[in-house]
Amino acid sequence: MKSLKALENPIAEPAFELEILEQSGIEPFENKLDSIGLFPLKPTQIEILQINMGKMCNQVCKHCHVDAGPDRKEIMTRETMGDCLEVIRNNQINTIDLTGGAPEMNPDFRWFIEEIRKINTECTIIVRCNLTIILANPKYHDLPDFYKKHQIEVVSSLPYFTAMKTDSQRGNGVFDRSIRALQMLNEVGYGMPDSGLILNLVYNPSGAFLPPAQEALQAEFKKKLKDKFDIHFNSLFTITNIPISRFLEYLIRSENYEDYMEKLLQSFNPVAAQNVMCRNTISVGWDGFLFDCDFNQMLDLKVDTVDSQHISDWNTRSLSNRSIIVNKHCFGCTAGAGSSCGGATAE
């Protein structure tokens, strides 16, 4: 399977995606925010720096909002990582959240983490690991030890505790390899009681419907993964599929687009709107540009500042005072129990 970009699908173009969102019959997101006194949406405090290390990935998941895959060559340079390190050195950032693609495929991935730890031994470093990368090549087999050495928090997607649902979304054989990788992480202590090594899993729906209640599904996942595979983990994050990129293409192709948008609108939750992740996060693109969130990054909606649109021009004051750019895809983060890179926001 190829990326939408390699297939020259027009949905790979942000401007086309925005046009599709504009054409949706649902009301603008701004109106809903305005009705609860949240428009314009402002940041609370910048606590999380989410860094996209590149779009290269060993998997081609059907719902991927990054349109990542082996055919994507965009990766962050060491120079841009250096700019990120400057920001981390000079600001109170609690959490560095590394994502991709498969961030581990960036040749400077380990160097970057070592440099972050030299600056800050206390901050949380999250790696969004797709699990299969650990088994993809012998050079990645020691990743669990590397994560452990640097006290990395591992966050990994596992759409379900069965092969059928997982493989249908992430590719044939992904479930079995993911299970093996989880066992390898458990073996070095990840997800094990009292180890202090955090292993969180991510569920997202395998179609045009909303995620279940996080707590109930977590209990189900814990029981099934323990009973069937003797796997342990800390928390399960439920995440809503955002109608952009490959998931948008699926919605249109399957004629679910309008119904899904309507469902997101009908499920609008003001509490989730208060807690959207873009209020305490800045997302850094592989090329160093700054965005309100990973989804705005993929839609090429750069932060609304005059002097701080790139990591090399970071200006905390400008970023803290900016208005967050919203569009209809934002209904995905405010539906039901809410959705963020850390799971539900309103439970």
């Binding site: 379900y160 069965t162 059928m164 649902k165 569920y203 729906p205 179609g207 419907f209 909303l210 995620p211 279940p212 209640a213 109930a216 599904l217 189900e220």
Partner: protein
């Protein structure tokens, strides 16, 4: 094409109150409470509803509770097992009447 069942009509369910509001309000309040977490989880109730939807062959209910069970975190295997429960009860309900047939056979046979 005109059909008796139109998927779009499911969205109009709430409109039954236009003709008789007090009873509709009572029904929807009751409905909401029935499906809330209780001694049974919302997930278990959703699977029961999916099975019943098949037993009574209500296309609206099948659409609604297929989505709902997925949104409660059920997978296809669990959902199909629920439908088999409905099928087993329906099949069993026919077959168990065979005892009545057998009684009658005995009654009127030499």
């Amino acid at each position: 094409m005109k059909t008796y069942y139109n998927p779009e009509d499911l969205k109009k369910f709430g409109k039954i109150g236009d003709l008789q509001k007090p009873l509709a309000d009572k029904f929807f309040d009751y409905y909401g409470e029935v499906f809330a977490e209780g001694a049974l989880t919302a997930r278990e109730k959703s699977l029961i509803a999916l099975a019943v939807a098949h037993a009574i062959q209500c296309p609206y209910c099948i659409d609604a509770y297929t989505t709902d069970t997925l949104e409660k975190g059920c997978d296809e295997e669990q959902m199909m097992e629920a439908v088999h429960v409905a099928a087993a009860i329906r099949g069993g309900a026919s077959l168990v009447h065979a005892t009545q047939m057998m009684n009658k056979i005995n009654e009127i046979s030499m």
